[in-house]
């Protein structure tokens, strides 16, 4: 009997070993492409019919699909695109990074890129980028966000700029000069109040996302830059959001909020619908993502975001993209990136769809010439900025970020706590 028990134990052990082997084989995954290193890939990479995987977050789905479809139609390699809901993206990338399961290529919100590069999630593509004869024309904000110790890790995937948009019909109805737009933040507030004064049902002067840290970063930082001020120290560890210009911005919005010219749901707008009111024609003017120009169904004016003293700037947002640390097809993945920077992709796909190009030498192209607003957007892109900080997400974008506390205190509550709240942002940046 003892022998039979031992035999039973052996059977269980064998089964367990078998299961483990199968599990390990499954974990290691199939590798249907030859593994060629990035160093051997040159400037064009390898196009040998490999299947590549690419992850992006939902807000860039339209542009990502267009790029992937165009690449798949013209190349042997085939890219499989996975679009992940915005709120789940960090968790999904984190889980995959921990289990060495990242896709070959993945895009990241440009404000997270410095942190993710520091964590080693992207491969070094400096030598490949150096091979481009148009390297200096690539958007420098995105390139520098992905640069660590002089090594480059990402290229701009899709640029998303924040711009001042105004509804020309509503502006004309309110007796405003619909062709020129407001020149500074004070005029912006006057415009919003004038459109509010039309008393049209369900129509408001302006809107924003007062419970959405990312929306506020995207649309309010440019007002500070437009006046020549900074929002962060050079090393990204100190918040400068309690300066005079910043306070003037909060005061203007406080005044706007109290006057009732701001769409009321802006107070609790956490991000998913923050542009909906304008797109439906129910909001007079607002700071708005340039990527939505093509899907805005009425006549709009477009300009850079002004500061209290005028000027115009933009937040150069969007996503950077790189080859993941786990990719075994880096040379093939580089082929996609290399094509993505070509004129075929930048003009033939992005500009054709009214999106912003990532190369300044292609800003004036056959499509932008048809619509002067696109030239404005492309020009402002060159004057914009992308803040770089390792703890950017925690300090600004997270649902409970100290930046949200600062804005809500200053604008909704009217409390005099900007300096203390700014110190809290610095404390988080320095963690």
């Amino acid at each position: 009997m003892r022998r039979s028990i031992r035999r039973g134990t052996r059977v269980i052990a064998l089964l367990a070993a078998g299961a483990l082997t199968v599990g390990l084989a499954a974990c290691s995954g199939g590798d249907d492409g030859d593994s060629t290193s990035l160093a051997d890939a040159g400037v064009d990479g390898v196009d040998d019919g490999s299947t590549l995987t690419l992850w992006t977050r939902a807000p860039l789905e339209k542009q990502a699909k267009l790029l992937v479809e165009a690449y798949n139609d013209s190349h042997e390699n085939q890219v499989e695109l996975t679009v992940v809901p915005n709120d789940d993206y960090v968790a999904k990338v984190g889980a995959a990074a921990g289990s060495n399961g990242l896709p070959d290529l993945f895009a990241a919100d440009i404000v997270y890129v410095p942190n993710w590069v520091q964590q080693g999630l992207f491969q070094d593509i400096t030598a490949n980028i150096d091979g481009f004869d148009f390297k200096d024309e690539i958007n420098q904000g995105h390139l520098s966000a992905g640069t660590l110790d002089g090594k480059e890790h990402v290229l701009p995937f899709v640029l998303d700029l924040s711009m001042l948009f105004w509804n020309k019909d509503l502006a004309t109805e309110a007796g405003l000069d619909a062709e020129s737009g407001p020149a500074n933040l004070e005029e912006y507030a006057e415009w919003a109040k004038a459109i509010q004064a039309l008393n049209k049902p369900d129509t408001y002067g302006t809107a924003t996302g007062l419970n959405c840290g990312g929306c506020l970063v995207f649309t309010w930082f440019p007002s500070i830059w437009a006046d020549g001020d900074e929002v962060l120290s050079d090393d990204g560890t100190e918040s400068l959001l309690a300066g005079d210009t910043a306070k003037a911005v909060y005061d203007t919005w406080r005044d706007l909020w109290e006057s009732g010219a701001v769409l009321p749901s802006s107070k609790d707008e956490a991000g998913p619908t923050w542009t909906a009111g304008f797109t439906e024609g129910k909001v007079g003017l607002m700071f708005y993502p340039a990527t939505l120009l093509s899907s805005t169904p009425f006549d709009v004016g477009v300009a850079g975001i002004p500061g209290p003293g005028g000027g115009g700037s933009t937040f150069v947002g969007g996503d950077g993209i790189g080859v993941s640390k786990d990719s075994t097809k880096a040379a093939q993945a580089w082929n996609f990136l290399s094509w993505m920077m070509s004129e075929d992709a930048q003009v033939g796909v992005l500009a054709k769809d009214n999106d912003v190009v990532s190369r300044s030498d292609l800003a004036d192209n056959e499509y932008s010439q048809k619509d002067p607003r696109l030239i404005t957007i492309n020009e402002v892109a060159g004057n914009g900025d992308t803040p770089v900080a390792i703890n950017f997400q925690q300090a600004f974008n997270a649902p409970n970020s100290p930046w949200l506390t600062l804005v809500r205190n200053a604008v909704l509550e009217g409390t005099d706590t900007v300096d203390a709240d700014n110190d809290e942002i610095t404390a988080v940046l320095q963690q």
Binding site: G8, G98, P399, S401
Partner: protein, 303 residues
Amino acid sequence: MSTLSQPAALRQRRRGRRATGALAGWLYALPTALFVLGLFLIPLALVVQMSASDWPLLGGNQGWNLPQNYSDAVSNRFFWDSVGFTLKYTVLTTVILLALSLGLALLVQESTRWKGLLRTSFLVPSALGLASASLLFYVLYSPIAGPFAGLMKSWGFTFLGTPEGALWSTIFLIVWRYAGFYMLLMLVGLQGIPDDVYEAARIDGASRWQTFRTITLPLLRPTLALTTVLCVTGSLLAFEQFYILTKGGPDNSTITIVQLIYNVAFQGQNDLGIAGALSVIVLLALIVINVAQIRAFNRKAED
């Protein structure tokens, strides 16, 4: 010799049967044991290991980090607020749900004409997943797309726009979703009380209130204990409804302890070590609360 060897052979046979029985027992238990091991014990061990390690979401395990994770967890600026909010939500939800579900159970027990219709209509919301129900209410509460949007505008009211509004709007969803389910449990408990006890009370001339207080409530105690433990545990672990409806807002006023764990792990701080420490703290607190609840009900039963 032969007289001595017979009992020895018998003993050996019995031992053999016992061994076969033991092996069979192990084999029967094996699937469940593997299930528990894979889905409960290994993840639990992993969380405990995380809670003791420096483990950023994107960087993997960086080595031991005790007791720093636990002190960081407790000193998180939202920790005590989230504990306070979770307890407040738990007390409100439990009291309202238990009172309402008992009332509904008494109603459908006594009503004869509409019994079937009432029971079904109260129970239907329980068939909907909590995430689906939360999304449904998210739209209902929406100041833009919701059916009450016009009314809300004219009254200057928002369901999720103020801390109190967000709390009560979420409680309303939970009561709508769970009252029918707890009613069913209460109904089973009520039907387990023998009719002759009520008959005796009626003969003794007891009023309805006296019958309810001295017969129904004491005999319903095991059911009440079960529903209270379920309701308290569920409320202490509340997440989906807040994640979908409020995301912890407005002004960080509705961050439950599990929402805090999620935020620390995946929204901003991205620190699995501190999130693990928070999880272990919640687990220990749950064990203490559940043991205390069960002991309290048992003591009352003994009294």
